[in-house]
Amino acid sequence: MSPGRRKMLGAIVAVINVGIVGAIVGPVMGFVTSPMNQRGKKGWVKIARIEEIPDGRATEIRYSMRTKDGYHVVDREYSIYVRRDGEQVMCIDPACTHLGCRVEYQVDRDRFLCPCHGGVFDKHGGVVSGPPPKGLIRHLVKVEGGNILLHREV
Protein backbone atom coordinates (compact mmCIF):
# COMPACT_ATOMS: atom_id res chain seq x y z
CA MET A 1 0.00 0.00 0.00
CA SER A 2 1.36 3.38 -0.92
CA PRO A 3 2.19 5.72 1.96
CA GLY A 4 -0.18 8.33 0.52
CA ARG A 5 -3.11 5.94 0.47
CA ARG A 6 -2.28 4.73 3.99
CA LYS A 7 -2.23 8.29 5.28
CA MET A 8 -5.44 9.13 3.47
CA LEU A 9 -7.32 6.13 4.89
CA GLY A 10 -5.96 6.91 8.36
CA ALA A 11 -7.26 10.45 8.09
CA ILE A 12 -10.69 9.20 7.00
CA VAL A 13 -10.82 6.80 9.97
CA ALA A 14 -9.91 9.70 12.28
CA VAL A 15 -12.68 11.87 10.82
CA ILE A 16 -15.21 9.04 11.15
CA ASN A 17 -14.21 8.52 14.78
CA VAL A 18 -14.53 12.20 15.57
CA GLY A 19 -18.00 12.06 14.03
CA ILE A 20 -18.95 9.00 16.10
CA VAL A 21 -17.73 10.58 19.34
CA GLY A 22 -19.50 13.83 18.47
CA ALA A 23 -22.71 11.95 17.69
CA ILE A 24 -22.88 10.57 21.23
CA VAL A 25 -21.16 13.25 23.29
CA GLY A 26 -22.97 16.24 21.75
CA PRO A 27 -26.57 15.15 22.40
CA VAL A 28 -25.79 13.62 25.80
CA MET A 29 -24.02 16.76 26.96
CA GLY A 30 -26.98 18.88 25.86
CA PHE A 31 -29.35 16.49 27.59
CA VAL A 32 -27.43 16.40 30.86
CA THR A 33 -26.57 20.09 31.06
CA SER A 34 -30.06 21.38 30.15
CA PRO A 35 -30.86 22.45 33.75
CA MET A 36 -28.09 25.05 33.48
CA ASN A 37 -30.25 27.11 31.16
CA GLN A 38 -33.48 26.79 33.08
CA ARG A 39 -34.44 29.71 35.21
CA GLY A 40 -37.96 29.93 36.60
CA LYS A 41 -40.19 32.90 35.93
CA LYS A 42 -41.17 35.01 38.87
CA GLY A 43 -44.67 35.64 40.10
CA TRP A 44 -46.65 36.65 43.19
CA VAL A 45 -47.56 33.94 45.68
CA LYS A 46 -49.89 34.41 48.64
CA ILE A 47 -48.17 33.22 51.79
CA ALA A 48 -50.15 34.52 54.78
CA ARG A 49 -52.69 36.99 56.14
CA ILE A 50 -51.18 40.08 57.67
CA GLU A 51 -53.02 39.64 60.96
CA GLU A 52 -51.35 36.23 61.41
CA ILE A 53 -47.97 37.87 61.76
CA PRO A 54 -47.04 39.19 65.21
CA ASP A 55 -45.66 42.69 65.30
CA GLY A 56 -42.00 43.50 65.97
CA ARG A 57 -40.43 40.11 65.33
CA ALA A 58 -39.81 37.56 62.64
CA THR A 59 -42.18 34.65 62.20
CA GLU A 60 -41.52 31.50 60.27
CA ILE A 61 -44.25 30.98 57.71
CA ARG A 62 -44.75 27.76 55.81
CA TYR A 63 -46.61 27.93 52.59
CA SER A 64 -47.28 25.39 49.96
CA MET A 65 -46.91 25.87 46.26
CA ARG A 66 -47.46 23.63 43.30
CA THR A 67 -44.01 23.09 41.81
CA LYS A 68 -42.61 21.04 39.01
CA ASP A 69 -39.78 19.04 40.51
CA GLY A 70 -38.19 17.29 37.58
CA TYR A 71 -40.59 14.67 36.38
CA HIS A 72 -43.40 15.22 38.86
CA VAL A 73 -45.61 18.04 40.00
CA VAL A 74 -45.72 18.34 43.75
CA ASP A 75 -47.24 20.59 46.35
CA ARG A 76 -43.95 21.54 47.84
CA GLU A 77 -43.76 23.17 51.21
CA TYR A 78 -41.51 26.18 51.64
CA SER A 79 -40.60 28.17 54.68
CA ILE A 80 -39.75 31.81 54.93
CA TYR A 81 -39.32 34.37 57.67
CA VAL A 82 -41.82 37.21 57.60
CA ARG A 83 -40.97 40.21 59.71
CA ARG A 84 -43.58 42.78 60.47
CA ASP A 85 -42.93 46.18 62.00
CA GLY A 86 -46.28 47.91 62.03
CA GLU A 87 -47.45 48.18 58.45
CA GLN A 88 -44.05 47.32 57.08
CA VAL A 89 -43.56 43.72 56.05
CA MET A 90 -40.28 42.11 55.11
CA CYS A 91 -39.66 38.59 53.77
CA ILE A 92 -36.31 37.07 54.67
CA ASP A 93 -35.12 33.91 52.97
CA PRO A 94 -34.01 31.31 55.53
CA ALA A 95 -31.19 29.96 53.35
CA CYS A 96 -27.86 31.05 54.76
CA THR A 97 -25.90 32.95 52.14
CA HIS A 98 -22.79 31.01 53.07
CA LEU A 99 -23.67 27.48 52.00
CA GLY A 100 -27.42 27.25 52.17
CA CYS A 101 -28.23 25.80 55.60
CA ARG A 102 -31.49 26.98 57.16
CA VAL A 103 -30.92 29.85 59.58
CA GLU A 104 -32.80 29.74 62.85
CA TYR A 105 -34.53 32.78 64.30
CA GLN A 106 -33.91 33.45 67.95
CA VAL A 107 -36.72 35.49 69.38
CA ASP A 108 -34.90 36.62 72.54
CA ARG A 109 -31.93 37.98 70.61
CA ASP A 110 -33.94 38.98 67.55
CA ARG A 111 -31.25 37.47 65.36
CA PHE A 112 -30.82 34.69 62.86
CA LEU A 113 -28.22 32.00 63.53
CA CYS A 114 -26.86 29.48 61.09
CA PRO A 115 -26.28 26.11 62.79
CA CYS A 116 -23.78 24.89 60.20
CA HIS A 117 -20.85 27.25 60.13
CA GLY A 118 -21.86 29.76 62.77
CA GLY A 119 -23.12 32.71 60.71
CA VAL A 120 -25.07 35.35 62.63
CA PHE A 121 -27.50 37.82 61.01
CA ASP A 122 -29.30 40.79 62.53
CA LYS A 123 -33.07 41.23 62.61
CA HIS A 124 -33.13 42.51 59.02
CA GLY A 125 -30.84 39.79 57.73
CA GLY A 126 -27.59 41.80 57.67
CA VAL A 127 -24.40 39.91 58.54
CA VAL A 128 -23.25 40.35 62.13
CA SER A 129 -20.50 37.76 62.28
CA GLY A 130 -19.28 34.46 60.89
CA PRO A 131 -18.42 33.36 57.39
CA PRO A 132 -21.50 34.48 55.36
CA PRO A 133 -20.39 36.78 52.53
CA LYS A 134 -23.59 38.83 52.44
CA GLY A 135 -26.87 39.36 54.21
CA LEU A 136 -29.86 37.05 53.93
CA ILE A 137 -31.81 37.44 50.73
CA ARG A 138 -34.90 39.62 51.07
CA HIS A 139 -37.71 38.88 48.69
CA LEU A 140 -40.02 41.47 47.21
CA VAL A 141 -43.27 41.51 49.08
CA LYS A 142 -46.58 43.39 48.93
CA VAL A 143 -49.76 43.46 50.96
CA GLU A 144 -53.05 43.38 49.08
CA GLY A 145 -56.38 43.17 50.84
CA GLY A 146 -54.74 41.85 53.98
CA ASN A 147 -52.85 39.12 52.08
CA ILE A 148 -49.08 39.04 52.08
CA LEU A 149 -47.81 38.27 48.57
CA LEU A 150 -44.31 37.10 47.92
CA HIS A 151 -42.45 37.62 44.65
CA ARG A 152 -40.53 34.47 43.86
CA GLU A 153 -39.77 31.90 41.18
CA VAL A 154 -42.93 30.05 40.34
Binding site: V32, T33, P35, M36, Q38, R39, G40, E60, R62, D69, G70, Y71, H72, V74, D75, R76, E77, Y78, S79, P94, H98, L99, G100, C101, R102, V103, E104, Y105, P115, C116, H117, G118, V127, G130, P131, P132, P133, E153
Partner: protein, 401 residues
Protein backbone atom coordinates in the same frame (compact mmCIF):
# COMPACT_ATOMS: atom_id res chain seq x y z
CA UNK B 1 -5.24 -33.51 9.21
CA UNK B 2 -2.06 -31.73 8.24
CA UNK B 3 0.19 -30.83 11.15
CA UNK B 4 2.99 -28.40 11.35
CA UNK B 5 6.25 -30.27 11.97
CA UNK B 6 7.11 -30.10 15.65
CA UNK B 7 10.53 -28.84 16.77
CA UNK B 8 12.58 -31.48 18.49
CA UNK B 9 12.46 -31.50 22.23
CA UNK B 10 14.06 -34.25 24.23
CA UNK B 11 12.02 -34.41 27.37
CA UNK B 12 8.39 -34.26 28.37
CA UNK B 13 7.52 -30.75 29.45
CA UNK B 14 6.29 -30.12 32.96
CA UNK B 15 3.06 -28.21 33.58
CA UNK B 16 5.15 -25.21 34.65
CA UNK B 17 7.06 -25.18 31.42
CA UNK B 18 3.88 -25.67 29.51
CA UNK B 19 2.74 -22.30 30.73
CA UNK B 20 5.21 -20.36 28.66
CA UNK B 21 6.27 -22.80 25.98
CA UNK B 22 4.47 -23.32 22.77
CA UNK B 23 2.92 -26.69 23.34
CA UNK B 24 4.91 -28.82 21.00
CA UNK B 25 6.57 -32.11 21.67
CA UNK B 26 7.72 -35.18 19.89
CA UNK B 27 6.99 -37.48 22.77
CA UNK B 28 4.18 -39.77 21.60
CA UNK B 29 2.29 -39.76 24.92
CA UNK B 30 2.56 -36.05 25.27
CA UNK B 31 1.40 -35.56 21.73
CA UNK B 32 -1.61 -37.74 22.43
CA UNK B 33 -2.38 -35.67 25.49
CA UNK B 34 -2.23 -32.48 23.51
CA UNK B 35 -4.43 -34.00 20.84
CA UNK B 36 -7.03 -34.83 23.51
CA UNK B 37 -6.27 -32.22 26.16
CA UNK B 38 -7.78 -31.98 29.59
CA UNK B 39 -10.23 -29.16 30.18
CA UNK B 40 -7.49 -27.21 31.90
CA UNK B 41 -5.16 -27.58 28.94
CA UNK B 42 -7.97 -26.85 26.54
CA UNK B 43 -8.75 -23.62 28.38
CA UNK B 44 -5.10 -22.74 28.71
CA UNK B 45 -4.58 -22.99 24.97
CA UNK B 46 -7.36 -20.47 24.46
CA UNK B 47 -6.91 -18.18 27.47
CA UNK B 48 -3.22 -18.52 28.25
CA UNK B 49 -4.37 -19.06 31.82
CA UNK B 50 -1.29 -20.82 33.20
CA UNK B 51 0.95 -18.08 31.91
CA UNK B 52 -1.24 -15.38 33.37
CA UNK B 53 -1.54 -17.04 36.77
CA UNK B 54 2.13 -17.91 36.90
CA UNK B 55 3.18 -14.45 35.86
CA UNK B 56 1.14 -12.95 38.66
CA UNK B 57 1.97 -15.51 41.31
CA UNK B 58 5.66 -15.32 40.47
CA UNK B 59 5.65 -11.53 40.39
CA UNK B 60 9.02 -10.68 41.98
CA UNK B 61 8.81 -8.88 45.33
CA UNK B 62 11.94 -6.96 46.28
CA UNK B 63 13.36 -7.91 49.68
CA UNK B 64 11.79 -5.85 52.47
CA UNK B 65 8.30 -5.84 51.01
CA UNK B 66 5.83 -6.89 53.67
CA UNK B 67 2.77 -5.86 55.60
CA UNK B 68 2.76 -2.28 54.37
CA UNK B 69 2.29 -3.52 50.82
CA UNK B 70 -0.97 -5.28 51.61
CA UNK B 71 -3.14 -2.16 51.71
CA UNK B 72 -3.83 -2.00 47.98
CA UNK B 73 -5.13 -5.52 47.97
CA UNK B 74 -7.28 -4.80 51.02
CA UNK B 75 -8.69 -1.76 49.26
CA UNK B 76 -9.54 -3.87 46.22
CA UNK B 77 -11.34 -6.42 48.39
CA UNK B 78 -13.35 -3.73 50.15
CA UNK B 79 -14.25 -2.18 46.79
CA UNK B 80 -15.44 -5.57 45.56
CA UNK B 81 -17.64 -5.83 48.66
CA UNK B 82 -18.99 -2.39 47.95
CA UNK B 83 -19.73 -3.30 44.35
CA UNK B 84 -21.63 -6.46 45.33
CA UNK B 85 -23.57 -4.93 48.24
CA UNK B 86 -24.36 -1.90 46.08
CA UNK B 87 -25.73 -4.16 43.37
CA UNK B 88 -27.88 -5.94 45.97
CA UNK B 89 -29.14 -2.68 47.48
CA UNK B 90 -30.02 -1.32 44.03
CA UNK B 91 -32.53 -4.16 43.70
CA UNK B 92 -34.57 -2.71 46.56
CA UNK B 93 -33.76 0.97 46.22
CA UNK B 94 -35.94 3.41 44.36
CA UNK B 95 -34.39 6.74 43.37
CA UNK B 96 -37.24 9.20 43.73
CA UNK B 97 -37.91 11.66 46.57
CA UNK B 98 -41.31 10.04 46.95
CA UNK B 99 -39.95 6.54 47.42
CA UNK B 100 -36.23 6.68 48.24
CA UNK B 101 -36.61 7.06 51.99
CA UNK B 102 -39.29 4.40 52.25
CA UNK B 103 -37.30 1.99 50.11
CA UNK B 104 -34.25 2.38 52.37
CA UNK B 105 -36.46 2.02 55.42
CA UNK B 106 -37.88 -1.12 53.85
CA UNK B 107 -34.34 -2.46 53.42
CA UNK B 108 -33.58 -1.59 57.04
CA UNK B 109 -36.66 -3.01 58.64
CA UNK B 110 -38.26 -5.61 56.41
CA UNK B 111 -35.86 -7.14 53.93
CA UNK B 112 -34.15 -10.19 55.44
CA UNK B 113 -30.49 -9.33 56.14
CA UNK B 114 -31.31 -5.81 54.94
CA UNK B 115 -29.62 -4.17 57.89
CA UNK B 116 -26.57 -6.33 57.42
CA UNK B 117 -26.17 -5.74 53.69
CA UNK B 118 -26.77 -2.02 54.03
CA UNK B 119 -24.45 -2.03 57.04
CA UNK B 120 -21.71 -3.60 54.94
CA UNK B 121 -22.20 -0.90 52.33
CA UNK B 122 -22.32 2.01 54.79
CA UNK B 123 -19.39 0.85 56.92
CA UNK B 124 -17.57 -0.31 53.83
CA UNK B 125 -17.46 3.28 52.58
CA UNK B 126 -15.79 4.39 55.80
CA UNK B 127 -13.25 1.56 55.74
CA UNK B 128 -12.50 2.24 52.08
CA UNK B 129 -11.68 5.87 52.84
CA UNK B 130 -9.40 4.71 55.67
CA UNK B 131 -7.73 2.10 53.45
CA UNK B 132 -7.21 4.49 50.54
CA UNK B 133 -5.75 7.12 52.87
CA UNK B 134 -3.42 4.56 54.47
CA UNK B 135 -2.37 3.20 51.06
CA UNK B 136 -1.70 6.71 49.74
CA UNK B 137 0.30 7.68 52.83
CA UNK B 138 2.39 4.52 52.55
CA UNK B 139 3.24 5.34 48.94
CA UNK B 140 3.93 8.96 49.89
CA UNK B 141 6.33 8.19 52.74
CA UNK B 142 8.11 5.43 50.85
CA UNK B 143 8.53 7.76 47.88
CA UNK B 144 7.20 5.00 45.66
CA UNK B 145 5.77 7.52 43.19
CA UNK B 146 9.18 8.30 41.75
CA UNK B 147 10.39 7.36 38.28
CA UNK B 148 9.15 5.19 36.61
CA UNK B 149 5.99 4.99 38.69
CA UNK B 150 4.68 8.55 38.19
CA UNK B 151 1.64 7.40 36.24
CA UNK B 152 0.81 4.68 38.77
CA UNK B 153 0.64 7.43 41.40
CA UNK B 154 -1.34 9.74 39.12
CA UNK B 155 -3.96 7.08 38.39
CA UNK B 156 -4.05 6.35 42.13
CA UNK B 157 -4.83 10.01 42.85
CA UNK B 158 -7.73 9.81 40.38
CA UNK B 159 -8.96 6.65 42.12
CA UNK B 160 -8.84 8.57 45.42
CA UNK B 161 -10.99 11.32 43.88
CA UNK B 162 -13.45 8.81 42.46
CA UNK B 163 -13.79 7.20 45.89
CA UNK B 164 -14.59 10.58 47.46
CA UNK B 165 -17.13 11.23 44.69
CA UNK B 166 -18.69 7.85 45.51
CA UNK B 167 -19.15 8.87 49.15
CA UNK B 168 -20.55 12.25 48.26
CA UNK B 169 -23.10 10.92 45.76
CA UNK B 170 -24.01 7.92 47.90
CA UNK B 171 -24.70 10.09 50.91
CA UNK B 172 -27.84 11.63 49.37
CA UNK B 173 -29.48 8.38 48.34
CA UNK B 174 -31.30 7.49 51.62
CA UNK B 175 -33.05 10.87 51.36
CA UNK B 176 -33.09 11.47 55.09
CA UNK B 177 -32.41 14.76 56.81
CA UNK B 178 -28.67 14.21 57.07
CA UNK B 179 -28.46 13.23 53.43
CA UNK B 180 -30.56 16.09 52.20
CA UNK B 181 -28.85 18.88 54.12
CA UNK B 182 -25.34 17.61 53.57
CA UNK B 183 -26.13 17.71 49.86
CA UNK B 184 -27.66 21.19 50.06
CA UNK B 185 -24.43 22.42 51.62
CA UNK B 186 -22.14 20.24 49.50
CA UNK B 187 -23.66 21.35 46.23
CA UNK B 188 -23.70 24.98 47.33
CA UNK B 189 -19.93 24.73 47.51
CA UNK B 190 -19.99 24.59 43.71
CA UNK B 191 -21.90 27.89 43.64
CA UNK B 192 -19.07 29.74 45.40
CA UNK B 193 -16.80 29.39 42.37
CA UNK B 194 -16.67 32.76 40.59
CA UNK B 195 -18.44 33.27 37.25
CA UNK B 196 -19.50 29.68 36.60
CA UNK B 197 -20.69 28.85 40.12
CA UNK B 198 -24.37 29.48 39.55
CA UNK B 199 -24.51 27.46 36.34
CA UNK B 200 -22.54 24.67 38.05
CA UNK B 201 -25.03 24.58 40.90
CA UNK B 202 -27.89 24.10 38.42
CA UNK B 203 -25.89 21.44 36.61
CA UNK B 204 -25.13 19.47 39.77
CA UNK B 205 -28.61 19.79 41.24
CA UNK B 206 -30.48 19.46 37.97
CA UNK B 207 -32.37 22.63 38.92
CA UNK B 208 -32.48 25.41 41.46
CA UNK B 209 -33.07 23.19 44.46
CA UNK B 210 -32.06 19.78 45.71
CA UNK B 211 -34.94 17.68 44.43
CA UNK B 212 -35.90 14.69 42.35
CA UNK B 213 -33.44 15.50 39.58
CA UNK B 214 -30.59 15.85 42.07
CA UNK B 215 -31.41 12.40 43.37
CA UNK B 216 -31.51 10.78 39.92
CA UNK B 217 -28.33 12.58 38.92
CA UNK B 218 -26.47 11.39 42.00
CA UNK B 219 -27.86 7.89 41.58
CA UNK B 220 -26.78 7.73 37.93
CA UNK B 221 -23.30 8.89 38.88
CA UNK B 222 -23.12 6.52 41.83
CA UNK B 223 -24.16 3.36 40.03
CA UNK B 224 -23.07 3.99 36.44
CA UNK B 225 -20.42 6.62 35.83
CA UNK B 226 -18.29 6.21 38.96
CA UNK B 227 -18.11 2.38 38.92
CA UNK B 228 -17.14 2.47 35.24
CA UNK B 229 -14.48 5.09 35.96
CA UNK B 230 -13.23 3.16 38.98
CA UNK B 231 -12.94 -0.15 37.16
CA UNK B 232 -11.11 1.49 34.26
CA UNK B 233 -8.71 3.33 36.55
CA UNK B 234 -8.11 0.24 38.68
CA UNK B 235 -7.30 -1.75 35.54
CA UNK B 236 -4.68 0.81 34.50
CA UNK B 237 -3.34 1.05 38.05
CA UNK B 238 -2.87 -2.73 38.37
CA UNK B 239 -1.34 -2.99 34.92
CA UNK B 240 1.17 -0.29 35.87
CA UNK B 241 1.91 -1.90 39.24
CA UNK B 242 2.67 -5.17 37.49
CA UNK B 243 4.63 -3.51 34.72
CA UNK B 244 6.96 -1.64 37.07
CA UNK B 245 6.73 -4.08 39.99
CA UNK B 246 6.53 -3.07 43.64
CA UNK B 247 9.02 -0.35 44.55
CA UNK B 248 10.32 -2.02 47.70
CA UNK B 249 11.84 -0.32 50.73
CA UNK B 250 13.31 3.18 50.49
CA UNK B 251 16.81 1.82 50.82
CA UNK B 252 17.18 -1.31 48.68
CA UNK B 253 18.01 -4.36 50.80
CA UNK B 254 20.32 -7.18 49.98
CA UNK B 255 18.87 -10.41 48.80
CA UNK B 256 17.04 -11.92 45.92
CA UNK B 257 13.50 -10.99 45.02
CA UNK B 258 10.94 -13.50 46.28
CA UNK B 259 7.86 -14.50 44.32
CA UNK B 260 4.53 -12.95 45.30
CA UNK B 261 3.17 -16.44 46.05
CA UNK B 262 3.10 -17.67 48.75
CA UNK B 263 4.66 -15.26 51.27
CA UNK B 264 3.22 -11.94 50.22
CA UNK B 265 -0.08 -13.43 49.13
CA UNK B 266 -0.39 -14.95 52.60
CA UNK B 267 0.18 -11.55 54.22
CA UNK B 268 -2.40 -10.07 51.86
CA UNK B 269 -4.88 -12.76 52.84
CA UNK B 270 -4.33 -12.13 56.57
CA UNK B 271 -4.90 -8.39 56.16
CA UNK B 272 -7.97 -9.04 54.00
CA UNK B 273 -9.32 -11.36 56.68
CA UNK B 274 -8.80 -8.75 59.38
CA UNK B 275 -10.32 -5.98 57.23
CA UNK B 276 -13.33 -7.99 56.17
CA UNK B 277 -13.76 -9.34 59.70
CA UNK B 278 -13.81 -5.82 61.07
CA UNK B 279 -16.30 -4.77 58.38
CA UNK B 280 -18.61 -7.67 59.20
CA UNK B 281 -18.33 -6.85 62.91
CA UNK B 282 -19.24 -3.20 62.29
CA UNK B 283 -22.16 -4.16 60.06
CA UNK B 284 -23.49 -6.56 62.71
CA UNK B 285 -22.84 -4.40 65.76
CA UNK B 286 -23.86 -0.98 64.48
CA UNK B 287 -27.00 -0.87 62.43
CA UNK B 288 -26.90 1.67 59.61
CA UNK B 289 -28.64 4.86 60.62
CA UNK B 290 -31.65 6.34 58.94
CA UNK B 291 -32.85 9.65 60.26
CA UNK B 292 -36.13 11.42 59.70
CA UNK B 293 -37.17 11.85 56.09
CA UNK B 294 -35.64 14.82 54.25
CA UNK B 295 -37.54 17.95 55.01
CA UNK B 296 -36.60 21.08 53.07
CA UNK B 297 -38.63 23.32 55.36
CA UNK B 298 -37.23 22.18 58.64
CA UNK B 299 -35.17 24.96 60.07
CA UNK B 300 -33.90 23.22 63.16
CA UNK B 301 -31.68 20.66 61.48
CA UNK B 302 -27.93 21.21 61.59
CA UNK B 303 -26.23 19.12 58.95
CA UNK B 304 -22.84 17.58 59.52
CA UNK B 305 -20.97 15.72 56.84
CA UNK B 306 -19.39 12.28 57.05
CA UNK B 307 -16.29 12.26 59.26
CA UNK B 308 -13.85 12.39 56.36
CA UNK B 309 -15.32 15.66 55.15
CA UNK B 310 -15.30 17.17 58.66
CA UNK B 311 -11.91 18.80 58.08
CA UNK B 312 -13.33 20.77 55.18
CA UNK B 313 -16.45 21.54 57.21
CA UNK B 314 -14.38 23.00 60.04
CA UNK B 315 -12.25 24.96 57.59
CA UNK B 316 -15.45 26.51 56.24
CA UNK B 317 -16.36 27.54 59.77
CA UNK B 318 -13.12 29.33 60.53
CA UNK B 319 -12.90 31.20 57.23
CA UNK B 320 -13.90 34.82 57.73
CA UNK B 321 -16.64 36.41 55.67
CA UNK B 322 -15.66 36.78 52.04
CA UNK B 323 -12.97 34.13 52.23
CA UNK B 324 -15.14 31.08 51.78
CA UNK B 325 -13.70 30.49 48.31
CA UNK B 326 -10.42 29.63 50.02
CA UNK B 327 -12.07 26.76 51.88
CA UNK B 328 -14.43 25.65 49.14
CA UNK B 329 -12.11 25.84 46.19
CA UNK B 330 -8.55 27.06 46.73
CA UNK B 331 -7.49 24.61 49.47
CA UNK B 332 -9.15 21.44 48.06
CA UNK B 333 -7.96 22.22 44.53
CA UNK B 334 -4.48 23.09 45.80
CA UNK B 335 -4.16 19.82 47.73
CA UNK B 336 -5.45 17.83 44.75
CA UNK B 337 -3.09 19.55 42.30
CA UNK B 338 -0.24 19.04 44.77
CA UNK B 339 -1.03 15.32 44.84
CA UNK B 340 -1.33 15.10 41.05
CA UNK B 341 1.99 16.82 40.41
CA UNK B 342 3.84 15.34 43.37
CA UNK B 343 6.16 13.12 41.26
CA UNK B 344 7.22 16.18 39.27
CA UNK B 345 7.42 18.55 42.25
CA UNK B 346 9.67 16.19 44.16
CA UNK B 347 12.81 16.26 42.05
CA UNK B 348 15.13 14.52 44.50
CA UNK B 349 16.92 11.42 43.29
CA UNK B 350 16.54 9.55 46.55
CA UNK B 351 13.36 8.04 47.89
CA UNK B 352 14.62 8.42 51.46
CA UNK B 353 12.44 10.80 53.54
CA UNK B 354 15.55 12.59 54.88
CA UNK B 355 16.65 13.41 51.32
CA UNK B 356 13.39 15.02 50.33
CA UNK B 357 12.69 17.07 53.41
CA UNK B 358 10.51 19.83 52.03
CA UNK B 359 8.11 17.31 50.50
CA UNK B 360 7.87 15.32 53.71
CA UNK B 361 7.51 18.44 55.88
CA UNK B 362 4.82 19.90 53.62
CA UNK B 363 3.05 16.55 53.51
CA UNK B 364 3.12 16.14 57.28
CA UNK B 365 1.94 19.74 57.68
CA UNK B 366 -1.07 19.14 55.43
CA UNK B 367 -1.86 15.81 57.09
CA UNK B 368 -1.63 17.43 60.55
CA UNK B 369 -3.90 20.29 59.49
CA UNK B 370 -6.51 17.95 58.04
CA UNK B 371 -6.17 15.72 61.11
CA UNK B 372 -6.55 18.58 63.59
CA UNK B 373 -9.53 20.08 61.77
CA UNK B 374 -11.15 16.65 61.59
CA UNK B 375 -10.49 16.09 65.29
CA UNK B 376 -11.96 19.51 66.08
CA UNK B 377 -15.04 18.55 64.09
CA UNK B 378 -15.36 15.20 65.85
CA UNK B 379 -14.86 16.63 69.34
CA UNK B 380 -17.14 19.58 68.89
CA UNK B 381 -20.49 18.98 70.50
CA UNK B 382 -22.94 18.63 67.67
CA UNK B 383 -25.51 21.40 67.72
CA UNK B 384 -28.84 20.47 69.30
CA UNK B 385 -30.28 17.82 67.13
CA UNK B 386 -33.94 17.64 66.43
CA UNK B 387 -35.56 14.92 64.49
CA UNK B 388 -38.67 15.79 62.58
CA UNK B 389 -41.70 16.23 64.80
CA UNK B 390 -44.54 13.91 63.95
CA UNK B 391 -46.68 16.66 62.55
CA UNK B 392 -44.07 17.68 60.03
CA UNK B 393 -44.28 16.01 56.70
CA UNK B 394 -41.86 16.57 53.89
CA UNK B 395 -42.69 17.18 50.33
CA UNK B 396 -44.94 14.35 49.43
CA UNK B 397 -42.41 12.06 50.99
CA UNK B 398 -44.50 11.32 53.99
CA UNK B 399 -43.15 8.71 56.28
CA UNK B 400 -45.62 5.94 55.85
CA UNK B 401 -44.80 4.09 59.02
Amino acid sequence: MARTPLPIKEHTISPEERADETRVTTHPEEELRLARPSLRDWLDLRLGWYGFVRKNLDEPMPPGVGWWQTLGNLLMTLLAFQFITGFALAMYYSASPETAYDSVKHINTEVPLGNFVRGLHVWGSTLIVMAVVAHTLRVFFWGSYKKPRELTWLVGVFIFQVILAFSFTGYLLPWDQKAYWATVVGTRIAATIPFVGDALLYLVRGGAEVGSLTLTRFYALHVMALPAALIGLMGIHLYLVRRHHIAGPVLPRRGKPVPFYPDQLFKDAVVQLVGVGFLVYLALAFKPALEAVANPTQVEFAPRPEWYFLGLYELLKIMPSGWELVATFVVPTGVTLGMIFLPWLDRSESRHPARRQWVIVTGIGIILMIGLLTLKGILETPPPHHSAPADLKATKTSDSS
